[in-house]
Amino acid sequence: MTAARPGRVGGVRAAGLPYLLILPAVLIVAAVAGWPLVKIVILSLSKQESSKFALFHHRGSTPFVGLDNYTAVLTDSNFWTVVIRTVVFTAVNVVISLLLGMAFAILMNRVSNWARLLLTAVLLFVWAVPSTVSSQVFYWMFNNQFGVVNYLLDKLPGVHMQGHDWFADPVQGLAVVSVVVIWGALPLLAISLHAGLTQVPPDVLEAARVDGASSWQSFRNVTLPYLRPLLIIMTTLSIIWDFGVFNQIFFMRNGHPEPGYQTIGVYMYAEGVGSSRYNVGSTIAILMMVAVFAMMAVYVRQLIRMGDTE
């Protein structure tokens, strides 16, 4: 047995090899993402007859109705309330998580080695906690009677939080959800932005300081321009993630988010799967996907532009 030496496969035969190797991945993606996508598009363009009966027996025909489902969804005022709520929720979460992420990154850049190592380890630990688990943990911390948050707030002079129900008002409730979302988003943002900060050439910063720039000025005019491509990518990704938040809301409202808690992902589930109206659910899913694709475009364009400059 003489083992073939690596690298000897060369020549004409190897030309097709990369395609052959990527084929399984392409087939799997086509099967698990492509086919369901096609089905969802078809569903969103058809009418659902007698719901459960048709569903169980494939008997009720599902006639093609063009864009009827889209008209129905887009003219529903509930849908637009949900869209506006989602946009506000996304904006608040993205801004706060980026600001905090940047603060953490700068902190990591300044502290000594062991402190940075410790911080990174803690952030990685946070990263490793699944959103289902963190949602439960935060839900209990914000429990109105026995939660630690109310207990600590109540200790502050002049603050009376005993028994305060954070989930009675959806605005407050969504604020609690935001805490979990931001908490979960911080590690990636902080670590990536910290990596970005290390790429800012120290001599340029040094030069700025010699020229008499304050730390804010050198951050604003030297550091930020270097970070810009990374920041755009992180912002786009954050928007996409926060736009599609589902787990945190679903678990913190015990599987039944009230209308005031419905962002687009939850709304899609409640209208589609939750009430067995799969055509409506598919329609909302497609609309949601179009919105996300639009945001992705920014991300992809930035990636291409970065490739050009390199």
Binding site: S50, K52, N144, D165, G274
Partner: protein, 438 residues
């Protein structure tokens, strides 16, 4: 030898019967007429979906499985289910063609929509083979029949009563259970006063989404959720009577309960076990959960007792919601005959007598066995004689899964909406949901 020959004949007969049952169910989508019980299960495994409640009567399940496995040679794959989002799981399972269980448990309020959708095999011809089928509890029987056909088998039921801490009630100077709603309120005032230093104290813990409780008050006030006339449903929650009942419920949920305004009743036993709750409204078995060493506090074991929820009319009880479960064989199940046979064993005299220790069994003939178990059973057995059930529309399940009542009640309990506004909005949703076609 004789026995073997007989078994062979039986086997051939069952296979033939099964074959016809299967083929007819496939061609006509569920309205088969030839389903037969099967005892030929060598090498087969049937899948049974039971709700986790049955872990409380595991011995009943075990003895039925054992007898079934002995008799048929088949194995039972018992898969525990969870009520949360259960109908969503059922929908997606029945829509497919694989992974369909041979026996499923459904809440009695969920049955109608699935029977109407042809989700279950017709068991009409087998009804007489089931023990006590002529004395099945009405609150369950009514939910297993659709257009004259028997699609389900009653399993067990329960009513909710008031569960209270004897020590706390006595310490507050109350000696006898209240006989009217007014008396209940004045008793709760005494409890509240006795614990005024505890900000987490609930004289009566009433979660804001507890719709079975709230609708009990609605029925006590002489109203109901919705009425039907000529096939059209009309929601009644905005009526003067229903609003009066909800007024009483709101008083309970806001003046005597703390900490539950945005929760449902799922964890109320654990909450009670923490020691800041004097009273809850729940099923009898919940006393066991409150005093369970794992889920609750075993010290409370001898401190819990029950009484039926007193009516606004002095000397009467409120009518109880008859909650319960039915069992059915899915139309697309691959082992229908075996599934039905498991059902027969699991609901026969022996199984149901054993079940009577834990819950109201499926037959009124076994009610004595249930009531003889304890004082609490005696009280709930009495309460079970005057009951209400949810609207029998096939669309009722969508009202439940749409959380219409829960959201309405939470808005009332948190003060977000007035009773008049909340019920008006809910009525509109209930009307459009119950009367939806297609």
């Amino acid at each position: 030898m004789k026995r073997r020959a007989l078994a062979a004949i039986l086997a051939v007969a069952t296979v033939a019967a099964l074959a016809t049952a299967c083929s007819s169910s496939k061609s006509s989508g569920g309205d088969d007429k030839g389903l037969a019980l099967s005892t030929e299960g060598k090498g087969k495994t049937i899948t049974v979906w039971l709700q986790g409640d049955a872990k409380g009567w595991q011995d009943v399940v075990d003895q039925a499985n054992q007898r079934f496995e002995q008799e048929t040679g088949a194995k039972v794959d018992l898969q525990w289910q969870n009520w949360q989002n259960y109908t969503t799981k059922l929908d997606s399972t029945f829509a497919g063609s694989t992974g369909i269980p041979d026996v499923v448990e459904l809440g009695n309020t969920q049955m109608a929509s699935y029977m109407a959708a042809g989700a279950f095999a017709d068991l009409s011809s087998l009804k007489s083979k089931f023990d006590n089928s002529d004395t099945w509890m009405k609150g369950l029987l009514d939910t297993t029949v659709y257009s004259g056909k028997q699609y389900g088998i009653p399993y067990y039921g329960g009513v909710r009563t008031v569960i209270y801490r004897k020590d706390m009630w006595q310490a507050a100077g109350i000696t006898a259970p209240p006989t009217s709603l007014d008396e209940l309120f004045s008793d709760l005032d005494k409890l509240k006063a006795a614990h005024s230093s505890d900000p987490n104290f609930s004289a009566f813990y009433m979660p804001g989404q507890y719709w079975y409780a709230a609708m009990t008050f609605v029925h006590d006030a002489g109203s109901t959720i919705a009425t039907e006339k000529d096939g059209k449903w009309t929601a009644q929650l905005n009526s003067a009577e229903a609003q009066k009942g909800l007024e009483n419920w709101k008083k309970l949920a806001t003046e005597y309960s703390s900490g539950g305004a945005t929760k449902n009743e799922a964890d109320q036993d654990g909450v009670m076990a923490k020691g800041h709750v004097a009273t809850i409204f729940g099923s009898g078995w919940e006393m066991g959960v409150v005093a369970d060493p794992k889920t609750g506090d075993p010290k409370l074991k001898d401190q819990l007792a029950t009484f039926a929820m007193p009516s606004e009319t002095a000397g009467k009880f409120m009518p109880s919601f008859f909650g319960g479960s039915d069992l059915a064989v899915p139309a697309k199940a691959s082992n229908q005959g075996l599934g039905a046979e498991w059902l027969r064993i699991f609901t026969d005299q022996q199984s149901m007598t054993a079940l009577a220790k834990y819950a109201i069994p499926n037959s009124s003939a076994l009610l004595d066995a249930y009531q003889g178990q304890s004082d609490a059973n005696k009280i709930s057995g009495q309460a079970a004689q005057q009951t209400w059930v949810t609207p029998t529309s096939p669309n009722w399940a969508n009202v439940e899964s749409g959380n219409i009542l829960q959201n309405m009640l939470q808005d009332i309990a948190t003060g977000k909406s007035s009773i008049a506004d909340a019920t008006k909005a809910a009525d509109e949703k209930i009307d459009s949901t119950l009367n939806a076609t297609g």
